[in-house]
Symmetry: C2
DNA sequence: CTGAAAGCGCTAACAT
DNA sequence: ATGTTAGCGCTTTCAG
């Protein structure tokens, strides 16, 4: 302890938080001594003593998906200067199909964070509610009844995507999605609806994971199979990229032979050589709204749940075009 | 407290760590009661009491760069089942040029992690040594004298990359790098050396950040300027992508008009439509080696420093070709 | 096998 | 403006 400065521990504590009640002189002396002694306050102990953690736990599904980096950036921006720090926990999409946030969220709970921001939490609502019982939860990109939810209108996004393909004249459009988790079905539902409204048969293919690799494998099967679609609407950009890859491997050109649309509009979608038509949900904004909600929740644990739905935007690039051999 | 089960707190503690000395029956009763009461052990308090954190702090420079996701995956894999958890802290490349790991590492220190794994730590060695004084440090992708270092032979990688371009017949090759930080100069040095050996003038351009955006801007200037190079060797894939983007904007084709080589061989480099020639440093392996080193350090704080250098591998794809108008 | 007591490094009243 | 005294929720000797 740096109580060798001649002052009490209280003063040191006050000095470090530059709380009022410490003369400028003393504070200076304390900080100076601390530096000299290599002393650093122990936040762990501080949080424990304070019985309330100025920490938000951020659960990210998959670091390999750039969307989560955007969400993180947004959260950080919102928390900047608030003195609240964030501890991250990342999921493992590849493990047992990526279901159940399990351990990851559990570890946040054990670390006694004051609030958890969960980005695209997987698994059934039940396990979430359980977590939410222990600590306030802010759900990003997924609406959960009774829980702070910051999300984008998935139905509108999927409708725009499907509509775009329909407008181009496509009739054999498949929707490539992942495991059937709650809270991830809106896009699929809207797709089915749009197809139905157009008098076309929907065709949904579920890959075992929401990843590039899984999508690539599933797409290879679809494209080699009978009745090849002329367009694929993928659940996210990573999966859309997997579709492109499979198409390329089979000698199919995008968009001449196959149109592909993604979801997220991550930066990779915008790259030269990719130019993927995608639905932009502004992950950064989602993240900062979630950060703000988390701060509010920390301040008032019992306030009404936030329910913030934003409108996504379809960004048309060159991965979509009219189907090959238009009826003639 | 779940001391309502009729046993003492000691027992509860033991039961949860399934330490020996608790009858199977009691343990079961305790766990059951805990579940019923929604009790969860507080790791914060536990770490504090134990005076030794079973936690590694992982510092990642930039979530937008997929390499860090790979490193993370490697670290996690190495830590799996060890009971050691990891808390992440991510840098902010975009802030004030991305220098100084500052706050991020500081926050790890304050959280009293048992060891810090720093992936591509930026800033001068001095600030690192300071951190290393407080807690053991494992440096990934950067060699630091006297500190556990797990890295790839950058000089060899850069030599291979430059050599490849030279072999193709290029003579005007620029190396695009970022701010001049210690520990990031090997690639540049090897490039200069290779050029020199070939009797060609080196030309190094430093962008203000190691990012896509910064590279794009810098590349635009280079490509529009006089004496346009026929090849660019970028410090990493993100930057190489920025170069491609700038080239495309100017109507230059890759590789016909401009060859581009990156570094890291992140997945994005392999994508259809990109196919970037790049140097693979196997970030996943680097990560898991770092995780193992961290574990060893936790077990024996005073063992000799690990110094593990691996050999990178040049992966040639279609972003490189002979220069336009070969001498004729 | 089980329990009592001390203490980890801090914060938060409550004095002085 | 500064010092005192209790804990925070756990782990850890050390005794029953």
């Amino acid at each position: 302890m740096a109580r060798e400065v001649g002052v009490s521990r209280t003063l040191v504590s006050f000095a470090f938080r530059n709380a009022p009640g410490v003369s400028e002189e003393t504070r200076h002396a304390i900080l100076e001594a601390a530096r000299r002694l290599g002393y650093r306050p122990n936040r762990i102990a501080a949080d424990l003593a304070r019985k309330r953690a100025a920490t938000v736990g951020l659960y990210l599904l998959d670091l390999h998906n750039e969307v989560y980096a955007d969400i993180f950036a947004g959260v950080r921006e919102a928390l900047e200067g608030s003195g609240v720090r964030v501890i991250l926990s990342v999921g493992d999409v590849r493990r047992r199909g990526g279901a159940e946030p399990g351990d990851e969220v559990e570890s946040l709970l054990e670390a006694r964070v004051g609030v958890i921001i969960a980005a695209t939490l997987t698994g059934p609502d039940a396990s979430l509610r359980e977590a939410a019982a222990a600590v306030p939860l802010v759900s990003v990109a997924r609406r959960i009844e009774g829980v702070d939810s910051i999300y984008s209108d998935d139905a509108a996004g999927a409708r725009a995507a499907t509509g775009h393909l329909l407008d181009l004249g496509h009739t054999r459009i498949v929707h490539l999605t992942g495991p059937r988790w709650e809270g991830h079905t809106e896009r699929q539902r809207a797709y089915r609806e749009a197809m139905h409204d157009a008098g076309l048969p929907p065709r949904v293919v579920a890959a075992p994971e929401f990843t590039f690799e899984a999508a690539q494998a599933a797409a290879a099967r679809i494209l080699e199979g009978p009745d090849r679609p002329t367009a694929v609407f993928a659940h996210n950009d990573q999966m859309a990229l997997g579709v492109r890859e499979a198409a390329e491997a089979l000698g199919l050109r995008v968009p001449e032979d196959l149109s592909v649309v993604g979801y997220d509009d991550s930066r990779i979608a915008r790259l030269a050589g990719i130019r993927l038509t995608s639905v932009d949900l502004d992950a950064h904004a989602l993240g900062s709204a979630a950060g703000a909600a988390a701060l509010a929740r920390l301040a008032d644990p019992s306030g009404p749940a936030v329910d913030r739905c934003s409108a996504p935007r379809l960004v048309v690039r060159t991965s979509t075009a009219p189907p090959p051999q238009p009826r003639r």
